[in-house]
């Protein structure tokens, strides 16, 4: 029975994508907003434009080819309080799933809260979620797909993945 539950959970973990649709209403309140949702089909289209002659770009292309989706919602507001904690909480609730692990939590009274979660499956990172909730800015990033920590490490120059995140992967935890 335990194995059956585990087997049922594996596809769930693979298919769970963060739902960010409720944030779309903030677009009308924000002074600037970015709303990007790219599924695997669009990512494949986009990857065709990435040149292969540059080593960093080739790494990005490799990374993108393994992804199943990227969603970004970013808002800049005129006043603090134009978005509420409830807007962010709806995402945090989704991240309570055991598949997600909080790897970075930063709290600042003046600069707000920042969090990074990684979704792992059998020691492999299969998703990344980021919430940067500043008083006048809110950014949510959801990356769905297999992300190799080795690739992330090589991306420094192009994609700017900090080392602090690389070393929080399941693989590294297994080694300990």
């Amino acid at each position: 029975m335990k194995y059956l539950a585990l087997l049922l959970c594996i596809p769930c973990a693979w298919t769970q994508v963060l739902k960010l649709d409720h944030l779309d209403r903030l677009g009308s309140k924000a002074e600037n907003s970015v709303n990007i949702t790219l599924d695997s089909g669009l990512l494949n289209l986009a990857a065709r434009f990435i040149p292969e002659d540059d080593a960093d770009a080739a790494q990005v292309k490799k990374l993108v080819s393994a992804l199943k989706g990227i969603s970004v919602r970013s808002f800049e507001f005129k006043n603090a309080g134009d978005y509420t904690g409830a807007d962010v909480d709806e995402i945090r609730v989704q991240l309570r799933d055991p598949a997600w692990k909080s790897v970075v939590e930063v709290h600042s009274k003046t600069e707000g809260d920042s969090n990074i979660w990684l979704k792992t499956l059998s020691g492999r990172i299969i998703g990344l979620a980021l919430i940067a909730a500043e008083p006048k800015k809110l950014t949510i990033v959801s990356i769905d797909g297999a992300i190799d920590p080795e690739d992330l490490g090589k991306m420094g120059g192009y994609f700017g993945i900090p080392k602090s995140i690389r070393y929080k992967s399941g693989k590294d935890e297994d080694k300990k």
Partner: protein, 97 residues
């Protein structure tokens, strides 16, 4: 009178067509058909060909624009992600420097 009958018989006598009669007939029939072909058919064929050509070109352009837009969005998404990750890293490292 007999002479006249002979002349008449000779005139009305069944004659074998020439060897290339069939070919000549068919060629003339084809030329006639070509000359009297309705013009609207040509116009419709031309319009269909032009529409297909325009449709193919349009679809290619649309696909190219979709690719370009997807690429721009991907780069923007990666840039925002990168910026935010670096900001968070700075915050994490800040107090311990």
């Amino acid at each position: 009178m007999i002479d006249f009958e002979n002349q008449l018989r000779s005139a009305l006598e069944r004659e074998q067509p020439s060897e290339d009669f069939t070919r000549k007939t068919l060629v003339r029939a084809a030329v006639f058909k070509q000359a009297h072909r309705p013009r609207w058919r040509t116009w419709i064929a031309g319009s269909v060909a032009a529409s297909l050509l325009a449709g193919t070109w349009g679809a290619t352009q649309l696909e190219h624009r979709r690719e370009q837009r997807a690429h721009e969005q991907l780069m923007l998404a990666l840039r925002i992600t990168s910026q935010k990750l670096q900001q968070i890293e700075k915050k994490v490292e800040g107090p311990h420097r």
